[in-house]
């Protein structure tokens, strides 16, 4: 029977090969600045764009010191000049403690939520609150546990618990409640336990190493730990960072069970947010909380419409506002939702509040360098000539197209069982996949043979 048990209980171990997807900016590790905030030519996956990177570095330092909140930065530049890369670099160098929320301008257009609600939620996701939890615990290894049951079977039980650390040993008298929870947790001699002093909650950390040889037969889950060091009665302090949005969510969920079942949070009432703001400010006054303004990054910001922009104007004035970084690749264009033209598709009054960083197209040398970094990232070996050809393609078409060719050329090369991508492979994928310019050229030439083009749509009646 025992053997059978062992057979059924063995957990199935499966090897899962990790499939790593390589994102467009996975090679970015930071902004690549030195201590004096000077940008290094090539560092942390960043190439060129020295001035914008330095500007981002200055802003980064201000964010780290918590000096700026409620400010906004706009990164503007042509497509493929590293706007998103700079934002990613800022995110990477902020460290895990500062909240960073990224969203694309089009993400806020959802049917379940109003645009301003989606924006509010992202604003509050980017604000962190640091709070501290302090608990007094008794932590030790159980030496002996002795429970006296009354002869009648009912009535109060009394008991003694001997705990030790490497430094000391002591006996605790146990009341009825403690005995109950000890037996519920199945605590026995040799276990290492903690007792929360305020609540009396007992948790088992594992079995002491010194008792490891007591029995041969052990459950698979038995964990062995060292006998605790130092004092028995310890103070444990844990610092947590939570976002304002998370606090909003738990507080809006407490009303009614419907909120619990809706799964996603849905809209949060403004009253709830006001309450949370008041509470957090109170905590800050009492020294119980620190507020960490994080970063909200909105890519493709020209996708926002007039209402969103006026909301942003207002939201940036709140005292619980994060640093807003926006990126756009548009020049003078129509503001969405209006007929007015404006630089970057952003209203002038909002533009006036922004610090604007401009990125410029990469030089040939920089393009070469970026392609090299991407090759390493995508694990593709490139021969010297192929590298030169690819750089030329990158200069003449676009950097993004050249980067796309790396992995496709890598595949072609592997297909012919080569180890290094040669010029032939590049040529082959160049003929297989069109870049934007050649594609438009093709369109112009063969326009007439496509479906639904201008000439046909006039002759065809599609209303029926």
């Amino acid at each position: 029977v025992a053997a059978q048990m062992a057979n059924t209980k063995v957990p199935e171990v499966r090897d899962i090969t990790r499939i790593e997807r390589i994102g467009a900016h996975s090679h970015i590790r930071g902004l690549g600045l030195d201590d004096a905030l000077e940008a290094r030519q090539v560092s942390q996956g960043m190439v060129g764009q020295l001035a914008p990177r330095r500007a981002a570095g200055v802003i980064l330092e201000m964010i780290k010191d918590g000096h700026i909140a409620g400010r906004a930065v706009l990164i503007a530049g042509q497509p493929g000049t590293g706007k998103t890369a700079i934002a990613m670099g800022v995110a990477q160098s902020l460290g895990p403690d500062t909240p960073f929320t990224a969203l694309a301008g089009s993400e806020i257009f959802s049917l379940e939520m109003s645009k301003t609600e989606a924006l509010s939620q992202s604003f509050r996701k980017a604000m962190g609150v640091r709070i501290k939890e302090e608990t007094e615990i008794i932590e030790g290894e159980v030496v002996e546990i002795q429970i006296d049951r009354p002869a009648t079977g009912t009535g109060t039980k009394v008991g003694k618990l001997t705990l030790k650390t490497t430094e000391m040993e002591t006996i605790y008298d146990l009341g009825n409640k403690m005995i109950e929870s000890l037996s519920k947790e199945k605590v026995q001699a040799g276990d290492v336990i903690t007792i929360d002093k305020a609540t009396g909650k007992i948790s088992k950390l594992g079995r002491s190493f010194t008792r490891a040889r007591d029995y041969d037969a052990m459950g698979a889950q038995t964990q062995f730990v060292q006998c605790p060091e130092g004092e028995l009665q310890k103070r444990k302090e844990v610092v947590h960072t939570v976002s304002l949005h998370e606090i909003d969510v738990i507080n809006s969920r407490t009303q009614g069970f419907l909120a619990l079942f809706s799964g996603d949070t849905g809209e949060i009432k403004p009253e709830v947010r006001e309450q949370i703001n008041a509470k957090v400010c109170e905590w800050r006054e009492e020294g119980k909380a620190e507020i960490i303004p994080g970063v909200l990054f909105i890519d493709e910001v020209h996708m926002l419409d007039m209402e969103c922009f006026s909301f942003l104007n207002r939201a940036l004035e709140s005292d619980l506002a994060p640093v807003l970084i926006m990126a756009t690749n548009r020049g003078i264009t129509r503001i969405r939702g209006t007929n007015y033209q404006s630089p970057h598709g952003i209203p002038i009054d909002l533009l006036d509040r922004l610090l604007i960083i401009v990125t410029s197209p990469y030089t040939e040398k920089e393009t070469r360098q970026i392609l090299k970094i991407r090759c390493q990232e995508e694990d593709v070996e490139l021969s010297e000539e192929a590298h030169t050809v690819l750089t030329r393609i990158g200069m003449e078409t676009s950097l993004r197209y050249a980067i796309q060719l790396i992995s496709t050329a890598g595949l072609v090369c592997r297909k012919r069982k080569g180890t290094e991508v040669q010029v032939e492979d590049i040529k082959r994928v160049y003929s297989l996949f069109l870049d934007e310019a050649r594609s438009s050229q093709y369109m112009k030439e063969y326009q007439d043979s496509f479906l639904f083009n201008e000439t046909q749509s006039t002759s065809m009646d599609t209303s029926q």
Partner: protein, 132 residues
């Protein structure tokens, strides 16, 4: 040229001294806690004393003195309070000392450790967030 090794030595001495200081404070806390636990045991023993006499024998150093039960109890209780306060003070000192050591070693300051803790009610409210 000779200034550099002297400076390095001075720096290392300073770091070692700061670290030693932390270890001493930690040991002090351990000693006080063990005393506190012994006192607690004594109080329990007093409470559950089976033979109903008025006086108990108390050990001071190397001599036993017979003292009234109630007075002994009071004495120990006062001692406990004193111990609790001392341990608390040592904990506070320890925090300052650890920060000082970190500063000397060029490590970043521990974040959020000068915050005052949330009360138990407030903790209960945010608990579901913290136990993710």
């Amino acid at each position: 040229m000779a200034a550099v090794p002297v400076r390095v030595l001075d720096y290392l001495t300073e770091v070692e001294a700061a670290a030693e200081d932390i270890l001493t404070t930690k040991q002090q806390i351990v000693d006080l806690d063990s005393k506190r636990n012994r006192n607690r045991e004594a109080l329990n023993a007093l409470k559950h004393d089976m033979n109903h006499t008025d006086k108990v024998k108390v050990c001071f150093g190397s001599i036993f003195i017979k003292l009234p039960k109630s007075r002994t109890g009071e004495m120990i209780e006062r001692d406990q309070e004193q111990l609790g306060k001392e341990i608390n003070d040592l904990h506070k000192e320890l925090k300052v000392k650890v920060n000082h050591l970190n500063e000397l070693q060029g490590k970043p300051e521990l974040r959020g450790y000068n915050l005052s803790p949330l009360s138990s009610d407030e903790l209960k409210a945010v608990n579901s967030l913290l136990r993710r």
